[in-house]
Each structure stands twice: as C-alpha cells, then as structure tokens.
C-alpha cells in the first residue's frame, strides 16, 4: 500500500531526528495510556474478572489470570479485526502460490481492507479539523458537514442518469465538497462577522444537519420501499474498488492521501496557507499586517467543511453506494482526537487516522467476539485528547523531562 506518499516533501523542513522522536513521543504515550485505561475498564466490566477479584486475597493469581484473559480476548480480537488472522493470511498465500486461486488470500485480507476503508473518512475529517486548528478555529461540526456532503453527493450520484463516469464521478465528488463547504461556511461567516463562537454554532449546525437528513431520507430522497434509504447511486458515480468483493478498499483512500498532501501544500507552501497560520497564531498581528480575518475565517471554515463533506462522499461513493440513517459512525467527532493527536499536521493526521481506522474497524469484531461495546473506542479517544492536550500529565506519568509541549491548538474563548 502507498501509505506515506507525503514523506519526501516533509524533508524540506528537515527536522532533526531528536525532534521527530519528541514529536512522536507524547502522542504515542497518550495512545498507550489510553489503551491501558481501556484495558482497566475492560477488566472492571468483565464479570469473570470481577468475581475473581472478589476473592483476590484467597487466590490472587486467579484474579490476575482472569484479567489477563479478559484483556487478551478483547485486544486480541481487536487486532485480528484490524489486521486479519495471520494464520488465514499465510494459508491463503500458500493456496495462491500453489494453485493460483487468490480468493482465500483476498478474503483473509478483508480486515486489513476494512481498516483502510474506515481510515479513509478519518483522514478527510481529521484534515478538516486540523485545518481549522491551524487558523485558530475549532470545527466541532465535521459530523454535520459530513452528513450534508454525503447527502449532496448521493443525490448527484443517483439522480443524474446516463452521464459518462469522467463527468458524473467528479460532479458527485464536487457536490459532496460543496455541501460540506456550505455547512462549514455558515458558522465561519457568523464567527467572522458577529463573533458568534464557532464551537457552539458548529454543534448547532450538526443537530440541524441530523434533522435535515432524517427528513430527506424519509421524504424527498427516499427510495421506493419501507426503509429510509436513498436509491443506489449510478455506476458512473462510483469510486472504483481495487479488488473483487468482499474487499471494499477503493480510490477514496488514494483521494484521502492526495487531500492530505493538498492540505500540506496549502498550509506550508502558499501565501494563503501563510495567512491562515498567521491568523491562527496571532490574529491581531495578522490584521495589522493587512490580512483579512473575515476572509480567512470564512475560507478556512468552508475548506474545512469541504474536507468533512468529502469524508462522507468518499464513503458513500466508494463503499456503501447508498445512504441510510446513521450512515456515519461518528467520524466527525473522532476527527477532533485525530487532529489533536496528529498535532494538526497533515502527515500526523494521516498516521493518526490509520491508527484509529484500524482501532475502530477492529472494535467491531471485539464487540461481537468479546462483547465489549464499541463505545470503548470513544472513551479511549476522549482520554487521548486529554493526554495530548495536557502533555504535563504524560510527563508526570512517565517521569519524562525536557519534552517541549508546543501545541498547535489556538482556540479562543467567546467574543475575542
């Protein structure tokens, strides 16, 4: 897989290896700590382990063993759900070489493909939030922008019939981006013009988007039948998949990586990006040097919304090919953790998205195999945000010294 095409460009900044180690240390330890606390929660909520702890002083080994078993089952199924069963992969590979039949091998790769499929909207949505952070804006509305973008692209996808793919597919993608951009630009405009805080407004826009999508799926966009779903999109609007079913990995993943490179280029190689970062770092200084706060705020929120819209677009055009109620698994909210974890840098966001994509897709298996609700991933994410935002805790926990804690999050309070 071409997972890191943006690596070469990064060298222009040429950070010393010690800096890279420092930049990665806190996020890595934050994720580790989150997973450890997750393990503790798994142990506490495991009935077998709980009874064993009830008799801890009688038989401490049994308690420890039960905890180990609970965590191993949970995280083991999480790993298998994320990357696939190694035994099955090797077995499939053996059949591929001996008989030339690739179906077993491909089926064994299914979990890995699903991880990348989940990572795709995560990359887009994470970039969306990260771009906002760079400009000092906290876009909590990625989820709503994703909803609107998804619905817009699905509408273009199923309503236009008979177009060639090279017109239809770009149109559908554009519709998704525009839908999200509109949903992001409204709070951006309100923030720039009236100072209404974007955090509250993007959340309100989320709720409006949810209700609107309920209405659309039950009314104007409903496919004939009982279920509140849209019609299947036309083949000409589909993002092609790389392999035969059941592998769902598709061009959306490549688009996401391209978008990451695009955001990197925009932020660090263009004048617009310089302005965006200046506004984020010090709005007063930016204003005095002649940059327009209003224009930059609206632009960033629109771009951020477009990226969120693309998160849903990539999923609907590449994976689901229709939209039903609850089509987003909270990608927009998880995106906040991704942007923080990736320190609002596109490369960091991609790595964080790959990590949480695998976690999230593995958690589905963990839910069915070990009976651990998938919500544990949200708990871990909440913890990771806190640890990344407060490196002091990590420093204190792991007795680290000399770790500088510069965060790229410059979010301000009301009316400033």
């Amino acid at each position: 897989m071409t997972e890191k095409p943006i690596q070469p460009k990064k060298e222009e900044k040429a950070p010393a290896s010690g800096q890279i180690r420092q930049a990665l240390l806190v996020p890595a330890l934050a994720v580790l700590t989150g997973l450890i606390i997750g393990a503790i929660i798994i142990i506490i909520t495991n009935e077998k382990a709980a009874t064993a702890y009830g008799n801890f002083f009688g038989d401490p080994l049994a308690a420890l063993f039960a905890s180990w078993e609970a965590v191993a089952t949970a995280y083991g199924s999480l790993l298998v759900g994320s990357f696939g069963d190694p035994g099955k992969i090797i077995n499939g590979l053996g059949i591929l070489f001996s008989t030339g039949d690739s179906s077993k091998f491909i089926r064994a790769l299914y979990p890995l493909s699903e991880s990348l499929v989940t990572a795709t909207p995560y990359i887009f949505a994470g970039l969306s939030v990260a771009l906002g952070f760079r400009a000092g804006l906290f876009n909590v509305g990625a989820e709503g922008q994703l909803f609107i973008g998804t619905l817009a692209s699905a509408f273009v996808g199923y309503s236009l019939v008979g177009l060639p793919w090279f017109i239809h597919l770009p149109l559908a993608i554009l519709a998704g981006a525009l839908g999200g951009a509109l949903w992001g630009a409204i709070p951006g405009y309100l923030k720039a013009k009236t100072g209404a805080h974007e955090v509250v407004n993007t959340i309100m826009m989320n709720w409006i988007a949810f209700r609107l999508s309920d209405w659309l799926l039950n009314g104007p966009m409903k496919a004939p039948g009982f279920r509140p779903i849209t019609p299947q999109i036309e083949t000409s609007a589909e993002l092609p998949r790389f392999f035969a079913d059941p592998l769902r990995i598709n061009w959306g993943f490549i688009l996401a990586l391209l978008a990451a490179y695009g955001v990197y280029w925009l932020l660090f190689k263009t004048t617009i990006g310089f302005e965006i970062r200046s506004v984020g770092l010090n709005p007063d200084a930016a204003r005095y040097s002649g940059m327009s706060i209003v224009r930059n705020t609206v632009l960033v929120m629109a771009l951020s919304g477009a990226l969120s819209g693309l998160a849903g677009t990539a999923h609907v055009l590449g994976v689901d090919r229709w939209v039903g109620q609850g089509f987003s698994a909270g990608y927009g909210f998880d995106a906040i953790a991704l942007a923080l974890l990736g320190n609002s840098h596109p490369l960091g966001v991609v790595l964080a998205a790959l990590l949480f994509g695998t976690l999230r897709s593995g958690a589905t298996r963990m839910q069915s195999m070990a009976g651990i609700p998938i919500d544990i991933i949200s708990i871990i994410q909440g913890l990771v945000i806190i640890f990344v935002a407060a490196p002091a805790i990590i420093r204190w926990l792991y007795r680290l010294r000399n770790i500088k804690s510069d965060t790229t999050v410059m979010v301000r309070g009301w009316g400033k």
Binding site: K193, I203, I386, R412, G413
Partner: protein
C-alpha cells in the same frame, strides 16, 4: 453629517425588517386561514388541576391574524418615522406578533392548551437554565466550561443508576450533583493546574462522556433495565394556595423538585454574585485576575470553587433528564441542551436572572415544537425539531444585543 446618516439608517433598517415581518405574517398565515374559523386556547392545564378554572380564550382566526399583522406593520412604520428607544421592546413586540399569529394559524378550527404549553416551557427550560447557570458561575471566574453537555450526560446516568439501585430518588439526586462536581473538578484541574486549553478540555469531556455513558448503557442498562435503569421520577408538588391562581398557579407552583430548585438557585446565585464578598471576588478574578491577586485574593482557589459549584449545578441539570423527567437513561439524551445553555448564558449577559429568562425562550421554542407536532401542522416534524438550534444560532449572532464576556474569560492565569 455622518452621524446623521448613520442615525437615519439605524432607524430605517429595523423599521423595514419589522414591516417585512408584518407582511410575512399576512402572506404566510392570514392568506391560509379560513374566514369564520376560530382558534381555541385552553387556559386550564387540565380538569384535575388545583387551580381555579377559567374560561378558554377563543380568537376568530383570520381577524386575529389581520390585527397582529397590522400592529406589526404599524410599529415598523413608527420605528421608521420616529424610532423606538428600547430595542428589547421592539423585538418583543415583533416576536410576540409573529409567534401569536403562527399559533392562531396552526390552531385554527382546533383547540390548543396554552397553559399546558407554558408549563412545559418552564419544565423544558430547566436543564437549559441549569447548564446556563453552570456557565455563568464558572465564566464569571474566567473559566470556560464547554463540557457541560458531557457533565450533564454523566450525571444523568449516575443519577438513574444510583436511584434505581438504592430505590431512593434523593440518593440519585445527591449522586448526580457529586458526579457533576467531580467532572468539573477534573476540568478545573486540567485548565488551572495544567493550563490545558479550556475549549479542548471541555470537548474531551464531552467525547469521553458520550463514550462512557453509551458504553455503560449498552453493557448494563439495556440488559438489566429493572436493576439499573428504572428509577421513577420526582412527584409533582403543588404549593398550597399559590397553585390555585389561574394560569400562574399551574405553571409556576405545580412542579417537581428539580424545577423548584432551579428557580431557587437563580435567585441565590444572583444575590451571591452581586451582593456578597464572594461574588465580588469571583467577578474580580474574572475581569482582572492580576489585580485580584495583588489584593490578596487566591485566584486559583476562587476558580476551583466556582467551577466545581458550577459542575454541581450542571449535575442537578443532569438529574433532571433522568430522575426528573422520564425515569430512565437513553443514549445521548441531553441532545445539545448543554450547548443551548451556553447560548442562553451569553444571551443572558452572564447574569443568573438573564440566563434563566433566556432559557425560558429556548424552553418555549422546544415546547412549541412538541405541541406543533401534536397539532399536526403541515410543517414536517424534523423542521420543528430544528427550531431550538436555529434560535440558538440567531441569539449568538448578537442581533438582539451584544454582551461583553468577563474580560479574562478563557485565559489561564500565571502567578508571578
């Protein structure tokens, strides 16, 4: 010269807006109303109420709307010609005419329990008001708490579980308040001790709370509803004599404990904040922490105490959702009320009484939306459900009066 033009314009534009509103009332409602049809507004909450029964208000629908439209246009013309001093009164008149004609139009040929709606407005305003009070008390000490939503969610769940297990609603209430205090203490610790960005910490709390409550809900509450998630609710307490007053009696004096506590808190907080030494210290810390510090006020201590008390108030708000209204916990049942509370706080100019009054507006919108669904208006219910969120956004734009937040709001304090 310039002042004169801006003065005329400042009169002209609101005037035009009001006249347009008047015409809208005419176009939207008057034209769609049948002549000779009446709208009946119930003035008794129910036949079994303790209040003295009074006759219903019956309005001839079309005539009523015409009158309201004319009144609105008249005030618009007055504003353009002479100017009306009080913006509040102006907005009040317009909003009243619009809402009243909407109600008359929606109720034509039917009957509508007016007092019932007012009563449910107060009840629905309760969690919003408590969230707003939480915001007021912490932000007066310059700590932004955007995690109120998550705090309420955690308290709501803690309340219903402890109340069901102990078979005592008061235990649930105390546990909810303590949970709120605990979460707020964590937030305070993060932002005061570790200087974590206040918005980031709040969002982390929200994500964590959503994950944790959904985790517990699907792990325990759904399987063992009677063991954990069936607490019953606080009974309605009628205050003797006062509850006999028509209209006001059933609205104000036939409520449950949480609603009474909220009204009490509003008064207490208003007095504490503006007429006690502690309130003076709080406001000093919020406006100019350095000056407060110089005068010997312990800035950190004041902030901790205020944020934790605020959290306890939010905890009470959380209790409302479960043991105060439905007696069970549903996933993500706060539905953005915490954020709407923040909007109410801003609209209420960081005053307890103002926050409560503006919460009533949100409560009214929320309850109107429910009643409209029952009445069966042609507007789809999803759009009615959007109303509170849209009102929040309009309020935040500051069209209806800008307010200044405490000067140091959201900024960490560095002790020299």
């Amino acid at each position: 010269m310039k002042t004169k033009t801006s003065f005329t314009r400042s009169r002209l534009i609101p005037g035009i807006v009001i006249i347009v509103t008047g015409l809208l009332i005419f176009l939207l409602f008057a034209i769609n109303t049948q002549p000779q049809v009446t709208s009946r507004f119930g003035m008794n909450i129910s036949a079994s109420s303790e209040a003295i029964q009074i006759p219903d208000l019956v309005v001839p629908a079309q005539t009523g709307i015409y009158v309201l439209a004319l009144v609105t246009v008249f005030f618009g013309a007055w504003q353009m010609a002479r100017g009306i001093r009080s913006t509040g009164a102006l907005i009040g008149i317009v909003a009243f005419s619009f809402v009243a004609s909407f109600l008359i139009w929606a109720t034509q040929g039917k009957s509508f329990n007016m007092v019932g709606m007012l009563s449910s407005s107060l009840v629905r305003a309760t969690p919003i008001a408590l969230a707003a009070l939480c915001g007021v008390i912490s932000e007066r000490a310059a700590v932004v708490n955007i995690g109120i939503e998550g705090t309420m969610l955690l308290s709501a769940q803690a309340a219903v579980i402890s109340a069901t297990v102990s078979h005592n609603l008061y235990v649930g209430l105390v546990v909810a308040i303590l949970t709120g205090g605990l979460v707020a203490a964590f937030h305070a610790f993060m932002v005061i001790r570790f200087k974590v960005n206040q918005i980031v910490s709040g969002v982390a709390i929200n994500i964590f709370a959503t994950g944790a409550t959904s985790f517990i809900s699907s792990r325990y509450l759904e399987k063992h509803t009677d063991l954990f998630n069936n607490s019953g609710t606080f009974p309605i307490i009628s205050i003797p004599l006062l509850s006999k007053i028509p209209i006001l009696g059933p609205v104000l004096f036939e409520n449950s404990l949480v609603v009474y506590l909220t009204m009490l808190l509003v008064v207490v907080l208003q007095v504490v904040l503006f007429y006690t030494p502690w309130g003076l210290r709080t406001r000093a810390v919020g406006e100019h922490p350095k000056a407060a510090d110089t005068l010997g006020i312990d800035v950190f201590f004041v902030r901790y105490v205020n944020v934790i008390i605020g959290g306890m108030i939010a905890g009470l708000g959380g209790a409302y959702f479960t043991i105060g209204s439905v007696g069970r916990f549903d996933e993500v049942m706060t539905a953005g009320k915490g954020f709407i509370g923040l909007a109410a706080m801003i609209f209420g100019k960081w005053n307890p009484v103002g926050a409560f009054t503006s919460s009533l507006i949100f409560g009214f919108t929320d309850s109107l939306q429910v009643k409209m669904q029952i009445l069966g208006t042609p507007i789809p219910s999803e759009f009615l459900l959007m109303a509170p969120y849209i009102v929040t956004m309009i309020v935040l734009t500051g069209i209806v009066g800008r307010a200044m937040p405490p000067a140091a709001d959201g900024e960490p304090y560095e002790k020299q």
